[in-house]
Amino acid sequence: MLGMGNKLRMKKKWIEILSIFFSYVFTFWLLISMIFILLRLSPGDPALKYLSPQLNSHLYDYVKNSYGLDKPVVEQYYLFIYNLFRGDFGISYNYRVPVSSMIMETAPFTISFSLVSFIIQVAISMWVIFYVHKHKGNWLEKSLNKISLFLYSLPTMTIGLVLIYIFSIQLGLFPLSDVHSTNYDELNFFQKLFDLVKHLTLPLITLSLPGIIIFYNYLHGNIEATERKSFIRFMIANGFDKNIVFKKHVIPNSISPLISILGTELGILLGGAVITETLFGLPGLGRLTVSAILTRDYPLIIGCVFFSGVFVLAANFLADLYKLKHDVQLRENFKNL
């Protein structure tokens, strides 16, 4: 009897996973279609968006053939999807190399940059929350409640500019731009690390500060809501240690909604990375996109937008899967109780 139930549950779970997967595939197809429709809607010859007189004749013919630019629209659409799936985004006008290789060059930096920023955001906001919870009503909580809105209303570029003005130009503590010094290759490991940290401190602060405040406000509200729930009150009334209750029951219960906003958060991070990378001159995907649009490098723009979309979609998909698993676990735990 129990085995039958387990099997049924497993089957249901697989169906749920499959339905999520297919809905994401559908979204993915919509994304490609939107890019294609925009390409066709734009004034001027759409075929010329992939071809440029700057390309030499060999590359010109290659792009023309692979995208079927002299063929009917339906066939072009099919080829467009086929090429995007293969990872062939065309040839960049300016760099005269395949767009995919340009993205592969810059994406790792942006991804690791965003990831480090994300970790910093979570770590600092968690630390602040622990601290605030331990010393309730102290100066930090009061001042945070007051200035968090003001800090949040600082746009990314403002934070970056203020930091650059104070620390780079006036005090000269940090370098103005780029990810490492010119003599980077001659340094030993620790010097390299120090160099990287020196160059990336200001960008990381710029990218992380809004996120820290968002996380803090979000978690703070969640924790307060969880603490008001009856099972927490029940535990404290029964004489459980307050710290243990906080660590083992309040935090896990209030952190799980955080996973669901992971994808959105990643989108915000990528958007913020565009401004941060441009401000600090970092060689990432954001700066590549900005330089692409400033020179109207259409294949590169399509590639970058497509990549960022796929990246966020993948993160959303993982978050959905995690939620599914997490909820099932919660249900199981409740049954065991």
Binding site: L149, S153, L154, T289, V290, Y298, C304
Partner: protein
């Protein structure tokens, strides 16, 4: 003491400040009206030439200015809203409102007015100079009509060759035939010798205008699609949800970049793109609310008596949706203004003829070593706008949630 300041006090204080600082401008506006009346009587066939956009702008903001004073003074006891306690947010929103409505009166010069470069380049805030007008003997002053004179003092579209900015006044005025007046650049000038105060005032106005129009587009798309999705359900719902998911997947800036790349970067395109790019959250809110409301009695009744769909939306659903929709739209407004200035900061948009906050910041960033004031004031204004709008939306949300919890209990 400070806590007792009501809104109408704050508005009158602002009016008083404007009157004090821009008295000359107001007087010459009255003069302009007088001259225009004269011209209307004498040359009625020339009416299209008289009412240029500048003149209409000036006159309408002057009319709102006078109307505002009369309204506030006469209705201060009758309207509750005017007697509310004036918090910081309300005060800053009053300032923004003033800039938005009275930009032509507040700004000393036109936003693209360039003074002669050697003296006017990168002047520090509060620096005074002398504006000298050399009267040429050949083209005598008397040949200009009174209308032209008033227009010249009011708008100062572009410095005519006989205006010069000097550091010291010309000592023997009578011999050359010149008139010098002292001018003060409150916030300094930028690299091209343009007054930053005027540029900021016009740029604020434009970015608020862009935000308002974009918000209307967002609201229209979000409410309509959300209503359709929640009301009909089934395949339409799934399809629209997936489309919203797709728009959410592409980060805002990337989406705008994609659209701007293919559809051009004119002002209208940017406004539409900014409006379209933010409809998803409103769509989700409206959809879930409509799903909840759909089974209520009065809605079902309105369906049964044969109300059309648009009538149902406007008369039955919208009044109930209004608090959440409004809150979301005001949040969106803040984000759109930030996005617009970020985009023009990156140089993606902002190639239009007027000044923009992001463009000023970009220009200041290039001159960060020499002139801090070019970048400081636009940044402050952006922060002020975002702070005000965000605070407002937060308050509205709290009121909304309180109401909802009140009705459910």
């Amino acid at each position: 003491m400070i806590k007792k300041i009501q809104i109408w006090h704050a508005v009158l204080i602002l009016y008083f400040i404007v009157l004090l600082l821009r008295f000359n401008e107001l007087v010459s506006t009255i003069e302009l009206i007088f001259v225009i009346f004269q011209l209307l009587i004498s040359h009625l066939d020339n009416i299209a030439n008289i009412f240029s956009t500048n003149v209409v702008d000036q006159l309408s903001s002057f009319a709102i200015f006078l109307g505002g004073i009369i309204f506030v003074i006469s209705f201060r006891k009758k309207i509750d809203w005017l007697r509310k306690k004036c918090s910081l947010t309300l005060f800053t929103s009053n300032i923004l409102m003033f800039i938005f409505l009275f930009a032509p009166i507040l700004a000393p010069y036109s936003d693209n007015l360039q003074f002669n470069l050697p003296t006017a380049k990168r002047l520090a805030p509060l620096s005074g100079r002398y504006l000298v007008k050399i009267i040429d003997e050949r083209s005598t002053e008397s040949s200009k009509s009174q209308y032209q004179k008033v227009e010249e003092t009011l708008f100062r579209e572009n410095v005519t060759p006989d205006y010069y900015l000097l550091e010291t006044p010309i000592s023997n005025q009578s011999s050359i035939g010149s008139v010098s007046t002292s001018v003060i650049f409150l916030l300094g000038t930028d690299e091209y010798g343009r007054d930053i105060l005027s540029r900021i005032i016009y740029a604020t106005r434009y970015s608020l205008l862009i935000g308002v129009i974009a918000i209307f587009i967002t609201g229209f798309i979000g409410i309509t699609l959300g209503f359709i999705s929640g009301y009909f359900g089934k395949y339409v719902d799934i399809l629209l949800n997936r489309i919203a998911e797709m728009f959410l997947a592409v980060p805002f800036i990337f989406l705008v970049i994609l659209c701007v790349a293919f559809l051009g970067d004119s002002l209208l395109t940017v406004i539409i793109v900014l409006g379209v790019a933010g409809w998803m959250s409103l769509f989700k809110i409206v959809r879930s609310e409509v799903l909840k409301l759909k089974t209520r009695d009065h809605i079902v009744t309105s369906q049964m008596i044969g109300m059309t769909l648009s009538n149902q939306l406007v008369k039955e659903f919208l009044p109930l949706l209004l608090p959440s929709v409004l809150t979301n739209l005001i949040f969106q407004f803040a984000y759109i203004i930030i996005a617009e200035s970020s985009l023009s900061f990156l140089g993606i948009t902002g190639n239009y003829s007027h000044s923009s906050l992001g463009g000023m910041i970009q220009q200041g960033f290039l001159n960060l070593n020499e002139a801090w004031w070019i970048i400081l004031f636009p940044t402050l204004i952006i922060t002020l706008i975002f702070y005000t709008v965000y605070n407002y939306a937060n308050k509205l949300r709290n009121i909304g949630t309180n109401q909802i919890s009140f009705t459910t209990n």
